[in-house]
């Protein structure tokens, strides 16, 4: 029993099922992020929690009360929209208190609540202005104020930062995280930005094609992705996925991967159960930051493998240098220190932290669990 339960919930439009048996339980104070590419069903799910879309089958419960068929205004939720959806004809103050007014809260109480929220979000000087006279960041704050003032059980955020420019987006991201830490509210947040998902959430649900692909903490999602979709969607640059063949060397399972010149290198697995796959093809997943030069290799790792490969392209990005090479017939990106001595066309000895490597079944594309 959670604070917010999404229990075997599906959504169909006519004969087309767009959400398949979603099962998520959110605890009080959790920050759940629904992340996925557009059309994956994440906004539909959020709208179903809000009551803006009907639930085809299954149940959504808030504090153990079934919400199916309950009007949005009676669910004690608040929502922040992508476009902010501020009422253009009302002042900021009226925008914030409109919900309270509709719920019949007396004026003195409304004014007090408005002042508290305005102080919290530092928008006091804006209260008498119309939304049209505000900047994007200010509108965003007002939209959050309108949600906060109702003191709801659950906050719903629908891509609230996607209309802001890059710098403001990072600032507001921190603001939202601070606000969550300060108020300890339960939040469901929809985004297509995997960095937002990683930084904000206490738990992430990665969605694709109407299915929840994986539900877990940011660390779990990043380190032990359930399948190739999750592995490549989360993280930037994406996880490298290369074809490999499992073999046994001195009784230890290794992944044989072909280098640029067609020769093979054996990268030993940390997972002993990979022995069961000996002689079979797999897909090997290696995060860019686990391929480095010898000096930058993780000292705590018990399994650093080495390979000499030819550098195809280098992309200096200031803090890091991205190095592209050919591995297993695919372009593979390594994330190196900016002062690493790498040159296009040169051969270089890379250190691969195999402790962090994951293996996928090429047929099901699921991760082979250790």
């Amino acid at each position: 029993m959670g604070f917010l339960d999404i229990d075997n919930t599906t959504k169909s439009y006519g004969a087309v099922e767009v959400l398949h048996k979603v099962d998520i339980s959110v605890q009080e104070g959790e920050f759940l992020v629904l992340v996925g590419p557009s059309g994956c069903g994440k906004s539909t799910l959020l709208n179903m929690i809000a009551g803006l879309e009907e639930i085809t089958s299954g149940e959504i419960r808030i504090k153990d009360n079934v919400m199916n068929g309950v009007h949005p205004s009676k669910r004690n939720i608040a929502m922040v929209f992508q476009s902010y959806a501020l009422y253009p004809n009302m002042t900021v103050g009226q925008n914030i208190t409109f919900g309270l007014e509709m719920h019949g809260t007396p004026k003195p109480e409304r004014d007090k609540a408005m002042k508290d929220v305005a102080q919290l979000l530092q928008i006091e000087p804006l209260l008498d202005r119309k939304p049209g006279a505000l900047s994007g960041g200010q509108r965003q704050r007002v939209a959050m104020g309108r949600a906060l003032v109702r003191n709801p059980d659950v906050f719903l955020f629908d891509e609230p930062l996607s209309n802001l420019d890059a710098k403001l987006r990072v600032d507001m991201r921190t603001e939202i995280k601070k606000l969550h830490q300060k108020l300890g509210t339960t939040i469901v947040y929809v985004t297509h930005d995997q960095i937002e998902a990683m930084t904000l959430s206490t738990r992430i649900a990665v969605m694709n094609g109407g299915y929840v692909q994986q539900l877990g903490t940011p660390q779990e999602i990043y380190d032990t992705p359930a399948n190739i979709f999750v592995a490549t969607f989360m993280g930037s640059p994406a996880m490298n996925v290369v074809p490999a063949k499992v073999a046994l060397e001195n009784g230890r399972p290794v992944a044989q991967v072909s280098l640029f010149d067609g020769s093979t290198v054996a990268l030993p697995f940390s997972q002993n159960n990979m022995s069961d796959w000996a002689g079979k093809d797999i897909l090997l997943g290696i995060r860019p930051e686990t391929i480095t030069d010898e000096d930058a290799a993780d000292r705590k790792s018990s399994n650093i493998a080495h390979m000499t490969n030819r550098i195809v392209v280098t992309e200096p990005a200031g803090s890091d240098t991205f190095v592209t090479m050919t591995l297993g017939g695919k372009d593979v990106i390594a994330r190196m220190r900016s002062d690493a001595d790498v040159h296009p066309g040169a051969d270089f000895m890379f250190a691969v932290n195999m402790e962090k490597a994951v293996a996928f079944d090429p047929k099901t594309e699921n991760r082979i669990a250790p």
Partner: protein
């Protein structure tokens, strides 16, 4: 070479512009001429008109024809002037415009923000009302008004004009609200606003430009309508247009052209006034919604 071309371009530009202005001026004169004739002749004594020289400026300036047209000219059998009919028109136009505009706004709201199955077909049918010629409904409408006990009353005329106007006002408001962000409606729903609260508090305050279009359109059409007024009005509910016709068509006595001119201007003034007051919103409202963003 290029300089020479530029030179000719400027010269042809100048010639063309002079020509364009000349043509425009001609059109302006052409359009203003009737108004000029009406205004100058409405402030002349009758002898100056019957003596020929309709185009001349008045030698003796008098407002007598205006006063007569307004308050003492023979309309039908009574020498009442146009004033009672002016008020008849006002009593018909104001409610008809208000009701049809509000109904159009409500229809537009439902058709865009509370969509239901076959709503486009319903909209198509409402739109159909814009294309039905007046003459077709004359007899059925007379029958209906009789059945409802509204025959020969101002409210009967209001009903007829509302029914005819709703097609147009629905079209205007539907297209305007189609680009109104639905997220605002959803936010208001979560805030706890009901169907009519959303309409009054969120949607209508943002509908200024399109409301002006609807009001101008409806006001002009209903004020200028003659056919329904002549067909359905009783003796004490005849609108201005019908009275003006009775004034001008009087078959006895001298034709007082100056009074007729003054009466015609009086009948046209209210629509002119509405255009002047709200006209600048008109084009803006007509364009609104046609281009996204």
């Amino acid at each position: 070479m290029s300089i020479a071309t530029q030179d000719t371009a400027i010269r042809t530009g100048r010639v063309m512009r002079t020509l364009i202005y000349l043509v425009l001026l001609l059109f302006v004169l052409f359009y203003m001429l009737p108004l000029y004739v009406m205004v100058v002749n409405s402030v002349k004594p009758l002898e100056e008109i019957t003596g020929g020289g309709m185009m001349n400026l008045p030698q003796v300036f008098t407002l007598e024809p205006w006063a007569k047209a307004w308050s003492s000219a023979q309309i039908g059998v009574e020498p009442t002037g146009l004033s009672p009919y002016f008020w008849n028109s006002i009593k018909m136009v104001v409610p008809a415009v208000a009701i049809s505009t509000v109904l159009g706004a409500l229809n537009g709201y439902v058709l865009t923000k509370w969509r239901f199955k076959y709503d486009t077909i319903v909209f198509g049918l409402i739109l159909f009302a814009c294309f039905i010629p007046f003459q077709i409904v004359l007899i059925p409408m007379a029958k209906m008004l009789g059945l409802m006990g509204l025959a020969g009353t101002t409210w009967g005329l209001v009903l007829v004009h509302v029914v005819y106007g709703v097609g147009f006002t629905t079209l205007y408001f539907r297209n305007y609200y189609a680009v109104f962000p639905t997220e605002l409606i959803r936010a208001a729903q979560i805030d706890g606003a009901g169907f009519f609260q959303i309409f009054w508090r969120i949607l209508l305050p943002s509908s200024g430009p399109i409301a002006v279009v609807s009001i101008i359109w409806q006001f002009t059409n209903i004020w200028n309508d003659f056919l329904f007024g002549a067909s359905f009005a009783g003796a004490d509910s005849q609108p201005m247009t019908v009275a003006l016709n009775n004034l001008v068509q009087a078959s006895h006595g001298v034709k007082e052209y100056n009074v007729h001119f003054a009466g015609a201007i009086l009948a046209a003034l209210p629509t002119l006034l509405v255009y002047i007051v709200a006209g600048r919103y008109f084009v803006r409202g007509l364009m609104a919604g046609s281009v996204k963003g």
